[in-house]
């Protein structure tokens, strides 16, 4: 089975970076196992495969990573894919920003837009995905603003505590996967450029 990070970072068998990754074999295996646990789980439980794919596309879109987004969005029904694309277009921006507990760090507070889909988009996404996208926008771009009220909104939209853990893992894991792919791709390109 294809290793997703190798595939998207352009790391081929026998290449220099293939050898580098082989020196951290468990990290390589378990990063893939994390991907599988979140996007091809034995038991999807509360978060359907379609929802997992849609949320992955949204997180990758927020990062401006078109190729990784396309990989995760494969198989998504057209209507949902279009709704996610609209969510991305309406909520992309730089991160991280956000607030600290008031005190000496308040000087480092930085403002940015919180986001939630408007009524028309929320209807296309459905209540569960609309709430999940709003939450993942915070997780990706301003995680230090997180508060119990954010989790309450997810519970109100019908997610359980267990579902929220999975949604959080999806956003958090992808924040790792995207950066590993991008970092290793830059390192690979630097090796190919040098004699």
């Amino acid at each position: 089975m294809t290793d997703v990070i190798d595939h998207l970072a352009g790391i081929g068998p026998g290449s220099a970076l293939d050898a580098v990754r082989a020196r951290r074999p468990e990290a390589r295996r378990q990063a893939q196992a994390s991907h599988d646990a979140l996007f091809a789980p034995e038991e999807p439980g509360e978060v359907t495969l379609e929802e997992r794919r849609a949320l992955a596309a949204y997180v990758c879109g927020l990062h401006g990573e078109a190729e990784i987004e396309a990989f995760h969005a494969e198989g998504l029904v057209a209507g949902l894919r279009a709704a996610i694309a609209e969510a991305v277009a309406g909520s992309r921006g730089p991160g991280p920003f956000g607030h600290y507990p008031s005190g000496p760090l308040s000087a480092e507070d930085s403002e940015g837009p919180a986001w939630q889909p408007d009524a028309a988009l929320a209807e296309r996404l459905g209540a569960r995905l609309a709430a999940a996208c709003a939450h993942l926008h915070m997780l990706v771009l301003h995680p230090r603003d997180a508060a119990p009220a954010d989790l309450q909104r997810l519970l109100d939209a019908g997610w359980s505590a267990t579902g929220i853990v999975t949604l959080s893992q999806i956003a958090a894991f992808l924040s790792f996967q995207i950066r590993t792919i991008r970092g290793l791709a830059v390192l690979r390109a630097s090796l190919e450029a040098s004699p």
Binding site: V20, R21, R23, R24, P25, E26, A27, Q30, A31, A33, S34, D36, A37, L38, L62, H63, G64, P94, G95, P96, G98, Y100, P101, S102, P104, L105, E108, M138, L139, V140, L141, P143, R144, A146, P148, A149, L151, Q152, L155, D156, S160, A161, T162, V165, T166, S168, Q169, A171, A172, F173, F176, I178, R179, R182, G183, L184, L187, A189, S190, A193
Partner: protein, 198 residues
């Protein structure tokens, strides 16, 4: 059935980055210790983690937790060459400082200080932030971690070149990338499922 969000008891909120030992209070109900099945225990990897509300909360998705934990351990604990442990911890602390995770920064600043013995430099990173003067090698590692953590990702060939210039080989550079990338995972869970307390 709708479970409510947990309201932590009154507690001292850390208002600055610190190397002090902090605790963490969950906003959602962790699994009860007596409810942990063999599958949950396997997902915790270390049985001692059954004492941690954070890991018992993540154990609600055991497959994701187990793979997360095993990824973490190899990135930070694999002793086969590459970046010294102190500097993997530096990348973790710098990423946490940049994202604003006071809890993660406290743990990994302690590790960075312990393994490097450069307590004052680590404290300067916490006090002044990711622009602190730390000497060329550490500054290169911090700058790479920060560029990788930005959204959109701002890590480029100039960061790789700077890491090479300060003496990192390919494996060490890959270790910086994986250490910083991993803390973009860890910070988001720690920040959004509960809060630190002194």
């Amino acid at each position: 059935m709708t479970e409510p969000v947990l309201t932590p008891p009154p507690h001292a909120v850390p208002a600055a980055f610190t190397r002090a030992q902090l605790d963490w209070l969950p906003w959602l109900e962790p699994l009860a210790p007596e409810a942990l099945t063999p599958r949950h225990m396997a997902a915790l990897v270390d049985a001692s983690r059954a004492g941690s509300p954070y890991f018992r909360l993540l154990a609600r998705d055991p497959a994701a937790l187990e793979a997360r934990t095993r990824t973490d351990k190899d990135i930070f604990y694999n002793t086969d060459a590459g970046l010294p442990r102190a500097e993997r911890e530096l990348a973790a602390a710098a990423t946490s400082r940049f994202n604003g995770c006071i809890y993660c920064a406290s743990v990994h600043a302690r590790f960075a200080a312990t393994y490097s013995k450069r307590v004052e430099d680590v404290q300067r990173l916490l006090d002044e932030g990711v622009g602190a003067a730390l000497g060329e090698r550490w500054e290169a590692i911090v700058a790479a971690s920060v560029a990788l953590s930005a959204t959109p990702v701002a890590f480029g060939p100039e960061h790789v070149a700077r890491l090479r210039q300060v003496g990192l080989d390919d494996l060490a550079i890959a270790d910086v990338i994986q250490s910083a990338a991993f803390f973009n995972w860890a910070n988001r869970l720690m920040l959004s499922l509960g809060e630190p307390t002194e």
